[in-house]
Symmetry: C2
Subunit: 155 residues, 2 copies
DNA sequence: TTATGTGCAAAGACTTTGCTCCTCA
DNA sequence: TGAGGAGCAAAGTCTTTGCACATAA
């Protein structure tokens, strides 16, 4: 259902408009478009990828606007940085609780959604350190694609 | 028991020597010293911190050696990168299973050790994505130190 | 109208690389 | 002795910043 997806995206953008007004931030076409790119992608894009995508529609957009906008979207909790132990920051707009599978070969990031009843326990000692905001489970390993490539190489 | 700590450090360095030989890598004083700094710190030092500490003992060491050595130590699984969503890579030599509390205010990283019987469950869907190497739980929040500072400011 | 945001260019932070000489094994 | 490593300097890569103009509210 492409229409369904578009509808959801529109809803997200409406929420962005609301949030911007709430925080006294302007709703600019750049902000909308940059958020759209992150929100509409399952690939956890980095800043450059977002920039390239936005440039398709707004050829005059600049990299620094993308960085600045990603930072402000992050600050208003509309997007999040995905841990990846790599120099390039990657972003995610999906607020439904989920975790990540990070391939140590190709650095691809896959979403791990929890089953409806599933819940990851906090380490018992976690609360000793302060006030907990969120928990992020990163599973590291070799993804199926890379495993397959290894097998292909051996033959 | 300072002696105990030193003994453990010596053991770790012996293990490094063994691993180097095993992998056909040379045991150089720089390598030892750089590893020592990471292994002997609970602070998850970044490259620069390691560099400064090593320079105390080896004034001629260069930053790029530190970077190169940290990378090779990482490759031989002697040290690990700690996720921190920040530009500076931070390193950890502690191989006992533990997780991290990351303060979103001051970016300090605290080790969360599990209780003897404790075990964090993998997300049920994690295995679908490939071969799992390890799991890393990052608890994000505001650390006690920063909470205290907030309270102090209010008064 | 005016505070916020954008684009441009330049600089910044962190890290990597090419080359030569050195040194561990 | 010879392959791997260190030091130096220079260049990457990713990201941020200062400033002047533009624009949403």
């Amino acid at each position: 259902m492409e229409t369904n997806r578009e509808k959801m995206l529109e809803e997200k953008i409406d929420f962005l408009r609301t949030m911007c007004k709430l925080k006294g931030m302007r709703v600019t076409p750049q902000r909308i478009e940059i958020y759209k790119q992150v929100a509409n992608s399952c690939e956890h894009p980095d800043a450059e990828t977002v920039y390239e995508a936005v440039k398709e529609k707004m050829p005059n957009v600049s990299v620094d606007t993308v960085y600045r906008t990603l930072a402000s979207l992050e600050e208003m909790d509309m997007i999040f940085r995905v841990d990846n132990q790599l120099p390039k920051a990657r972003f995610d707009a999906d607020k439904t609780p989920h975790h990540h599978f990070l391939c140590v070969k190709c650095n691809e990031v896959y979403d791990i959604f929890l089953e409806p009843d599933e819940k990851i326990d906090l380490p018992k000692n976690a609360e000793r350190f302060g006030e907990i905001k969120d928990i992020n489970v990163q599973v590291r390993g070799i993804c199926n694609k890379c495993l397959q490539e290894q097998i292909n190489k051996q033959n």
